[in-house]
Symmetry: C2
Subunit: 418 residues, 2 copies
């Protein structure tokens, strides 16, 4: 899956984006499902379908051959036989932010629009996409998985969203029943580029404007259940208890210590939920459940941490006289970004006089799916206060515009060398 | 409040209890509110009032001057001007056991009945009581608090039970509106004796049949609240988090270590409930709440542990970049049993050829309230598997009968020496 970058097409012109038009379309898109300063636009809801129709219109106005596919992906193509895919997603989490994936989609629109306005010449064209349901109203990364053929679009129709509506019904309501699916074709699609807000505080804390993603971390989710005995918390001596809650807290502290000692600089972990049963001050917890997830760019390190979950929970259980059941509840493999694309994005940032930060993405993205099928690169711009998936999510206009320019320049370099 | 045990009334006869009658009445009482092998008899519910009426009848049949007082206490008196008070409670927790306090009430009934059957002679008589609502349907230890005058019976009428019924309504429904309150009188009431099941596993584990309570432990309840920040659990580096959940687990482990290092042999502690908010695997907990209680017979040691709660929560919060709020939510002072009564109960047990175990009570009892007003002693019999407040609660018949005999003998010694 390595890129052949042997060409040197020196007649390929730069793509000059229009900052006002870019920001204008981003703000127009944010009107669909607007909630205060944020957006509530769940995949294939009525307002999301309206937004997709609006985007379709904008793509067509830009001179692209555009359509909404059978699962809700909005795809616009230049007439070239070989194309660079650029995009992200325009659906949001409930009461989410106005940028998130929408920013990357409007970057793609503006870059394709500027490219077509400049004549659209050369061998390598563009395909721009808003993938459907990255945020998992029906299932996470739905549109990109369908695009690369990982998802069985027929059985996926039975998936239901938080309102109990099936994907089949949602697709029918959107009038997409007979629309064909847009599909990845290695002979056509040369590479994938996605821009996104960072959704974390790192760029802002370092005072940098551009992050170049080295890898998207893998995630492992675990449910760890300790089973003890519900004794009277006054009359049962400590030595005779089987305290599931004490075992859980001990596990949490020791697992954190293990991660600190053995993790990489990028390892993160989170004990997000704890349930003690029966949950009364005067009854020793009989049952304790811990929802734990951890992330790292290295699959090997994730395996080491998974082994530690099993080992430490067993050890702690034995010490507390309880039993432990550690179940892996989900796992997403890490995705490395293409080294050449990392280099090109890095170079493009430096071309604008800014120092890019190589960094892993701690959150999942459509690029995670795409990277399994084609060389993929990803660009971050800063999130103010690190906020995301929240109405308060925002990014400075200057950073938004700079990100689009860096991405446009990376596209130009790719068009010269592919 | 020391006992004057200077008399040597050698003509006072022993009280010979009838084991069949004792067990028969205990089983008859367990029919009121029977649920499988247990009992559901909440204070002043219709079935509890029926049980009180039955008990009143039994007291009168035994030749006692008996009544139900204005708050539901069932009290029976021999005609003596000076009396030893014996009793416990007959209300239960929801779906509780058949013995709990009921055993101690039937002990008192059988001892008074045997005493009266034997002539009821001598200067010192008996007053037997089933205190109302020890288990806190309206408020814990209601009846004993009213009996000693600690509770304002008028404002208590506004208290409501788990069904929203006020005590006033319950008392009215029970036909007790005009009944006077039975009250403790230091000129009349010489001492209080309570027998109860242990509600814990200690006697059984040691293979012993009689526990003599040295003190009822004090209890302190705390709510410890850590406040951090709800960051994305993938995109926020560990060093930039304010993880309230991690702080809570760290606190729990360190407080337990402090208790192990600084507690007495009788110190117990329990983290009964934990709540993390928002409680999702992919969001760092912004808020973590811990419900903690700890017990010991020493008020000084309880103070030391309370200081540790504040100190450790503050330290842990600083290390995790969160804030801590530790609030004391309840406190019950420990109660020492009277040393002479401990000696008399101990001696009475040895008179039956068994080795008594001096032990603290880890649970609260009416004796806790009574001990603040008169010399008080307490006797335990074993709980099978340490179970209590549960349908499975039980005690061997032999242990039940032995406990009644030991208590009867202690009453005789007291009647000789008071």
């Amino acid at each position: 899956m390595a890129l052949d970058l042997s060409h040197r097409r020196n007649d390929i012109a730069a793509i000059a984006i229009d900052p006002e038009r870019l920001l204008g379309d981003m703000r127009r898109l944010a009107e669909f499902g607007k909630v205060g300063s944020g957006v509530h636009r769940r995949a294939l809801s009525a307002i999301d379908v309206e937004a997709r129709q609006w985007l379709l219109g904008r793509m067509r106005e830009a001179g692209l051959e555009a359509s909404i596919d059978g699962i809700g992906n909005v795809v616009g193509r230049t007439p070239h036989a070989r194309r660079i895919v650029i995009g992200s997603h325009t659906d949001t989490v409930p009461n989410g932010g106005w940028l998130d994936g929408a920013m990357g989609v409007i970057y793609a629109l503006e870059i394709a629009r500027a490219f077509m306005a400049g004549g659209g010449e050369g061998e390598i064209g563009l395909e721009i996409v808003s993938f459907c349901d990255e945020e998992g109203s029906f299932t996470a990364l739905l549109g990109s998985q369908a695009y690369v053929g990982e998802l069985d679009a027929v059985s996926a129709r039975a998936l239901a969203n938080e309102h109990g509506q099936t994907l089949d019904q949602a697709v029918t309501d959107a009038g997409l029943t007979d629309a064909p699916l847009a599909r990845f074709d290695p002979a056509v699609h040369a590479a994938f580029l996605e821009a996104h807000i960072e959704q974390g505080p790192v760029l802002e804390a370092k005072g940098l404007q551009i992050g170049v993603v080295s890898a998207i971390v893998g995630v492992r989710g675990w449910k760890i259940r300790f089973e003890g005995r519900a004794d009277h918390a006054g009359t049962t001596p400590m030595a005779m208890r089987a305290d599931a809650g004490a075992a859980l807290c001990d596990f949490a502290v020791r697992f954190a210590a293990f991660c600190k000692a053995n993790g990489s600089a990028h390892t993160v972990w989170n004990g997000g939920a704890i349930t003690l049963t029966p949950g009364a001050h005067n009854v020793v917890p009989a049952l304790a459940e811990y929802i734990l997830s951890f992330r790292d760019p290295s699959a090997t390190l994730l395996d080491t941490l998974a082994d530690a979950v099993t080992r430490i929970s067993t050890e702690v259980a034995a010490e507390h006289g309880v039993t432990a059941h550690a179940d892996a509840i989900f796992a997403l493999a890490p995705a490395r970004m293409d080294a050449d694309l990392v280099g090109i994005l890095d170079e493009a940032a430096r071309g604008h006089g800014v120092k890019p930060l190589p960094m892993p993405s701690g959150a999942g993205h459509d690029a995670m799916v795409m990277a399994r099928h084609m060389p993929t690169g990803m660009l971050f711009v800063p999130s103010i206060n690190g906020r995301s998936h929240d109405l308060s999510e925002d990014t400075d206009d200057d950073d938004i515009v700079l990100g689009a320019r860096v991405l446009a320049d990376a596209v130009t370099v790719l068009r010269q060398r592919l």
